[in-house]
């Protein structure tokens, strides 16, 4: 391993920002109290906690009372799905957490376009009178495509109206898994028009194992975890105060710098795409040319064994993922790449590059040069170049 690391896998994990860590640490020691305890220092901790939730909610246009703190996005998604009775509509390119939760119900998977966009019309076509939940991600974790959530929300509203008109009182809700993208694109529950929203602290430079589910007032949920009745009875267990304090700070920082960070990442990503496309004529860039996260770049070279590139690059300090980190571990192909109709040869030759705060111009230039070197070496070795 070299000394210098080039981390290009921000979609997998982000480091906890030092400003986030700084505000968390007192809550592990001096302010360790249980927020439910009756004495003054504990009551102060409760206030800090509620205040952090409120600040956290504000970053995406919501109220603190309407969020349920969970141990990460997977739990948030499970909580959103568990109360649903009836049919579920979701997309074929959701995260495994959504797909697995959907499988527990009668469900329909909507196929994306070849560019990885979930079309609102396709969602509309999949909705039945029995549909209780529609769930579409804000942005894809593999190919980075940004989904038209606002338009999908309009479809759901239309269906709701149609049901009222036809005396069908079964509710239909829209959940959005916004684990990817916060801090890179606008995330606001009112503008998105969703009924439930999942966010993940660990993907926005906050601590891992903290997430939230925002629920529009009036939506009834049932708890998965019962006990002391914390989080309005929807998620019992002593509050993760330090985690939430950190999550709130992380969200504030991400929200505050979203526009400049977005522009910065866009430029770095486009530079990389340009360099790689110049170096390899056969390079395929997947996803949508415009509607993608600023820091996401998914490239494929048909015939290349991308896993070899990942292993060759790790030795040189460049850390990135094959098409999908989870899928690679299981030795199976990515369901996302399959869903957008990618051939096996292309899928196996896919690299996912996700830039973030650890990426600056100099390091991206260096990393790009190293990636080109290693891919070239491998193509020569296998007689492809």
């Amino acid at each position: 391993m070299t000394d210098q690391l080039f981390y290009l896998d921000h979609a997998a994990a982000t480091p906890v920002d030092e400003r986030v860590l700084a505000v968390m640490t007192p809550y592990f020691s001096d302010r360790f109290y249980n927020p439910s305890s009756p004495y003054a220092p504990a009551i102060q901790v409760r206030r800090d906690y509620e205040e952090a939730k409120s600040r956290l909610a504000t970053t995406f246009g919501a109220k603190g009372d309407d969020i349920i703190i969970t141990a990460g996005a997977t739990e948030s998604i499970n909580l959103a799905f568990v109360s649903t009775s009836g049919h579920i509509v979701t997309s074929a390119i959701e995260h495994d957490a959504v797909l697995a939760a959907a499988k527990l119900h009668d469900h329909t998977l909507v196929a994306p376009t070849e560019k990885g966009i979930v079309r609102p019309e396709a969602v509309a076509a999949a909705i039945t009178p029995k549909t209780g939940l529609v769930s579409v991600q804000l942005a894809n974790n593999e190919i980075g495509t940004i989904q038209p959530i606002r338009d999908i929300a309009a479809i759901v509203k239309q269906e709701r109206k149609h049901r009222l008109d036809s005396d069908n009182h079964d509710p239909i809700l829209l959940h959005c898994d916004a684990s990817q993208g916060f801090g890179q694109i606008d995330v606001n529950v009112a503008r998105l028009g969703v009924d439930m929203l999942t966010l993940n602290s660990g993907k926005m430079y906050g601590p891992k194992q903290v997430g939230l589910l925002w629920v529009r007032p009036g939506v009834q949920l049932a708890p998965m975890i019962v006990g002391g009745g914390q989080e309005r009875g929807l998620r019992s267990g002593t509050e993760n105060v330090a985690g939430v304090i950190g999550f709130a700070r992380a969200a504030e920082l991400a929200h505050e710098h979203q526009k400049s960070e977005s522009a910065r990442l866009h430029e770095l990503r486009d530079f990389m795409q340009g360099e790689l496309s110049n170096a390899f004529k056969q390079l395929v860039v997947s996803g949508h040319p415009k509607k993608h996260l600023p820091g996401s770049l998914h490239v494929s070279i048909p015939g290349l064994d991308a896993e070899r590139i990942v292993f060759a690059l790790e030795v040189r300090g460049v850390l990135l993922a094959t098409g999908s980190a989870c899928a690679a571990n299981k030795g199976t192909r990515s369901h996302v790449l399959t869903a957008i109709g990618m051939s096996d040869a292309e899928a196996d030759g896919s690299l996912r590059i996700t830039l973030g705060r650890l990426s600056d111009k100099a390091s991206v230039e260096q990393a790009t040069a190293i990636i080109i070197e290693e891919i070239t070496r491998e193509l020569k070795r296998t007689g492809h170049a």
Partner: protein, 343 residues
Amino acid sequence: MSKVYVGMSGGVDSSLTAALLVEAGHDVTGVYMKNWTQDLPGMRCPWADDLADAKRVAVHLGIDFKVFDFEAEYKQKVVDYMIDEYKTGRTPNPDIMCNQEIKFKLFLETALEDGAEYVATGHYAKTENGWLLMAQDENKDQTYFLYRVTEDALKKTLFPLGGYTKPQVREMAKERGLTTAAKKDSVGICFVGQIGMREFLSQYVTTEPGDIIDRQTGDVLGRHDGAIFYTLGQRHGLDIGGGLPYYVVGKDMDKNEVYVSTNLNDKSLWLKEIKLSSIHWINEKPADGKYQVRVRHRAPLVECDLRGDTLVFTEPQRAVTAGQSAVLYNGNVCLGGGLVSEI
């Protein structure tokens, strides 16, 4: 320069094997044999990590890498055999079966069909003109596990580690920057390990509790949870406390009884001669006469007299168990051997 396919398990031995062959100028392809992928209760099967480790080394060496999927055959030829043997009360050795059926048969055949001229593995053994010879490192010698390999297979096989000791192998792997240099060795059967055998068998065999009986007094000392889990000479895991340690001296599979004794000299623990079955000689059948024999991996080599399919030990041997292998040597040449039949 030859085209060599190396079985790469993701461990240090096979990693260095591949490295040495590359250095010797061969056209090397690394192959991960996907034999078993299932988790067991309380045990995660590390196959995906091992596969990634093997591939990392292949990438580091700049060689081709393939995965051969032998899961179905491994289950049938190795695992089912092992379970059947345990069911009949014997103590099989799945590593020997794996070498016979998978590594030096299926892997070899598949590699040759794929264009290989030789296969190589990280076994500590040597081979010359179809002979199987003990490794330089006697402590690490693995010929015991290889005695059922054929002469034809050996002629197509390279064992580059035969001349090295394990510490040397680790050192050489480290010098070459192989990421597996410090990786822990797998123990016993690759996928289960010694401790896990009981849990593993419990997945496939229904067992009934039965009596543990003192052979000397006939007293019932306790209960066991299935006679198949016990093997001759075993001391631990009997859960009968107090006084001198008890040893398993026999079992009756039909009655589901396990017999124990504190008498280290119990006659069933010490055998003067055994009958061999499923005999396999690597080269020509050796003439009757004096040889050395090993009755389990790393057991000392002891003198014996081969008389047809009977093996007479010069000194009685302890805890020779039905189903295990007796492997014969003439000096450093491994001749082959057979399974210890019912005693």
